[in-house]
Amino acid sequence: MAADTTTHNHDGGASTRKKIYMTTLILSVLTAIEFVIAYAMGPGTARLSIFLIMTLIKAFYIVSVFMHLGSEVKRLIWGILIPFGFIVWLLIALSKDGDHYGNNALKDANMKRQAVESTHGSNHGESKTQDTPKTEEANPSGH
């Protein structure tokens, strides 16, 4: 430490620095664990939840300690956090939307395939014995 420190805190910021190094350790360890889990665990809801929880913990430490928000007045903390309710809403809304859109696309594809199968069957007077999923690709040769 330099000699020209004109100290304001009674301990010359030593406790602040200790807190910073502890936070650094926590963030590094959490990142390392995430990395290991990415290798060790198969994808699924459990892994997803673990990742999200660990990410939120890391976010908490960065915002609270590094960005010093944890030591600000309550009004400021809530003033910053509450708007993110909109983000939670957006997350739910767009997840539902993606799910809905995907289901529709799947239904459309199935209907199209069934339509192709039925026309294919009537044109040739065949019974639907062949149940191959690749009807769409097989169709051009039939016409």
Partner: protein, 236 residues
Amino acid sequence: MAVSVDPKALVEGERPLFNVSYGKLMMWFFLVTDAFTFSSFLISYGSHRIRSVVSGVEWARPEEVFTHFPVLYEYFHIHAPLAFVGLMTFILIISSVTMVLAVEAGHRKSKKEVEKWMIWTIVGGITFLLCQAYEWYHFIIGTEGGALINGTLVHGANLKINEYGPQAFADFFFFVTGFHGLHVFSGVIINIVIYFNAALGTYEKRGHYEMVEKVGLYWHFVDLVWVFVFTLFYLI
């Protein structure tokens, strides 16, 4: 130093509502809006991915896409899935730490230490940008084998083609990491300005190093965003 508020000023209005200086409050406002932009990016990424998976189209697998690690790949042909991204995350976290140490040194008005930690923060930021350039390079040129899409052999990815999976994956990769990279880039430039101000004694004359704190908020935010990008884009 935190803004000096006279504790005796009990009359509402004499005391700032949030007990922070105007500049810091405005930086927080900006960061909240910027967080909304990044959230929208990441949430629409999730929406596209869910849509794709539900409709039966397989999404790209990040652990099979981001496998290049400098030296290991070029000289030993070893693939290290996600290792380089992990390193980038670590670099950004460390540069965030050096930034908060600069802020702490500013509280003690230690000019020399502020300069030292600002230099390290700038080095961390530039290193991160170089890593990102490396990663983009390999993402764009793609694998040697490439992938067959509609009968044509495709190498790498851009905004029109993508050998790794659905086109939306490549588009979001460029926009999310690109937008974040732009933030890192502007952060590095702002950090350089702050370094010179500190070195030239501007803050010493002013009597406080609050500018370091404000820019520090921005720099931590960039790190915060990357923590989310790392999880939501690379790990999941």
